[in-house]
Subunit: 389 residues, 2 copies
Amino acid sequence: MRITDIRESTGGLATTMRNAVIDFSRMTVSQVAVVTDVQRDGKSVIGYGFCANGRYAQGGILRERLIPRVLETPPADLLDEGGENIDPFKVWDAMMRNEKPGGHGDRAVAAAAFDMAVWDAVAKIASEPLWRLLSNRFNGGRADTRVLVYPGGGYYYPESGFGRLKDEMRAYLDQGYRIVKMKIGGADLATDRKRIEAVIEVVGEGRNLAVDANGRFDLETALAYAEGIASYGLFWYEEPGDPLDYALQAELTQRYTGPFATGENLFSHQDMRNLCLYGGLRPEVDWLMPDPALAYGLTETLRIIETVEALGWSRCRLVLHGGTQLALHMAAGLQLGGAETYPLMFQPYGGFADGVPVEDGYVRPTDHPGLGIEAKQALYAVMRPLGEG
Amino acid sequence: MRITDIRESTGGLATTMRNAVIDFSRMTVSQVAVVTDVQRDGKSVIGYGFCANGRYAQGGILRERLIPRVLETPPADLLDEGGENIDPFKVWDAMMRNEKPGGHGDRAVAAAAFDMAVWDAVAKIASEPLWRLLSNRFNGGRADTRVLVYPGGGYYYPESGFGRLKDEMRAYLDQGYRIVKMKIGGADLATDRKRIEAVIEVVGEGRNLAVDANGRFDLETALAYAEGIASYGLFWYEEPGDPLDYALQAELTQRYTGPFATGENLFSHQDMRNLCLYGGLRPEVDWLMPDPALAYGLTETLRIIETVEALGWSRCRLVLHGGTQLALHMAAGLQLGGAETYPLMFQPYGGFADGVPVEDGYVRPTDHPGLGIEAKQALYAVMRPLGEG
């Protein structure tokens, strides 16, 4: 078998929302198709991948660096021992050939989209859903049959008032979610407290609500918010300061006893190790949220899991960021703490297979081979022309 | 006045060399021209910039994100108070609009090329060499009339034997350099010790030689090298481990009393702060080497200087990486410790203005307006078509 082609394109997100730092009206996403000569059900197996939103499409890096390196590698050097499937670790090493250490940014995002397509192809060739393949290869056959999920949402809308925010949260509850998340830091603390209280009216208790500052606050503001929200007993207080400001995080952890969550903007196991070493986070209280669709893919996220476990963290404290089907498969097959999803946002990339219910805050992974992109119609509609066109 | 156009292109480096991690045969560089409607000497002022080598051209990020944001900004919003020159900080903020915190990688490289062109234009519009403009704006008019420089070189060549390496080092001495640098870690320790001894034969003493592992070593290897090179009394031992492995660096610093140098692969002031906080480096012994042509440009490097000074470092301990004229201007005008240069490597981007002598290891900045790219014929030949073509 061999990879016969690797294609990439840029997809768009049509939305007017914003968080504390950026607006998403011009956000783009890289889409990747890994085409193979393997036949399943009378068709060539094609793996599909895309990067999580928020970091833009990375077509230049894919076209100029990562894809050519893999296509120039002798095909046999990309296969597993039996020669009947792709070895995603060998593909990863090939795409990263001649890249310097450090500088984990856009390159990680490009690699993540590519790596997702590789793993999709690998699982399709194995005729297995990705979660089961991961379970068998890396988790002794153990898997969770359901995964805790929460919807990423609660952005700032251009409209004034809290009606649309409350409607959004009510829709999540109606869909079966129990824990929801909203953005803070895009308004002043007094306004944000009102927004939080409006949402708590909908979700019942603070413990059903996480808040996310998207790394905007300096120490003083982060502390003011910590004090201003402490009484709500929130599910977590996410990314209060700059993602690399470990000293700020360590100081905050001394002053706020509730859970923190952070890590979505750390794109390597080296950065995640530093967060654990220097950020003062508490393995029994706080949450780590790497995003496999930003941080060099599933392949690097396996290293992240290994790294944080070596530092005394349980993988149960990892709730994957990014709202992708990839995150759901990983959480189920590797028994992580849970996964974000975007049932309403970032369409068609957000959310899971069509018709999969959220029950009491949990989702069951499906048995479609690979990631199951074909089982999410709107997503398959944008990916299919890239692979089959 | 206004910026009338911003152009980018990709330039190549024809070389067969390699360091411990990558080979440079396909390395590319982004080139940027900022075209203005200001006339000087009967011609439109055009600022030129490029990124340092090692991180590839970033055309996609420049074309899709950074350049359109600046071109879409109302021109008056990019000017200084008097309205007669560009405010490079405003341009920087515009190019980084809607970018998330963290993830400092390829984006930083794209911004660095762009930011260099902006500062070149600013100094040309002010009819001043960049070093003097920096001295007056940020250093109370103080400046160094000469800058300590060392040639980045000593790569591995495909040829066997040490003849070409020794010839290279001899050529540096003939050109007036006193301190030279060579790569290690691309061979085993025994071979590298022989290479080091071969170079010391040329440069006289270990204190004239720095060695650079390019972040390749794990702790065990880094310690073995530390022990293996301790007796040479080298000028510095550069980037032994992964650039983000602060714990490794802190451990090493306990076990090797000679100077370390690191920081070229940290692309933000946040990362540099973490290195200073957690890397165990000694402000009186070790060296920091940010690269303004990789790390979001001069603009961000000013923040890096401010950050490390706040942590007790003298700016004299900063020796800028990257071998650009930009680094020379910054070192002179801001009175930093020195600058790397590439007199032979990475042409036409490496090295300073044509005909500028190296005297006893020091270089004097020239008085050409801006960066002086026009005074380096081979470099101007590749940049000029972008700006004037």
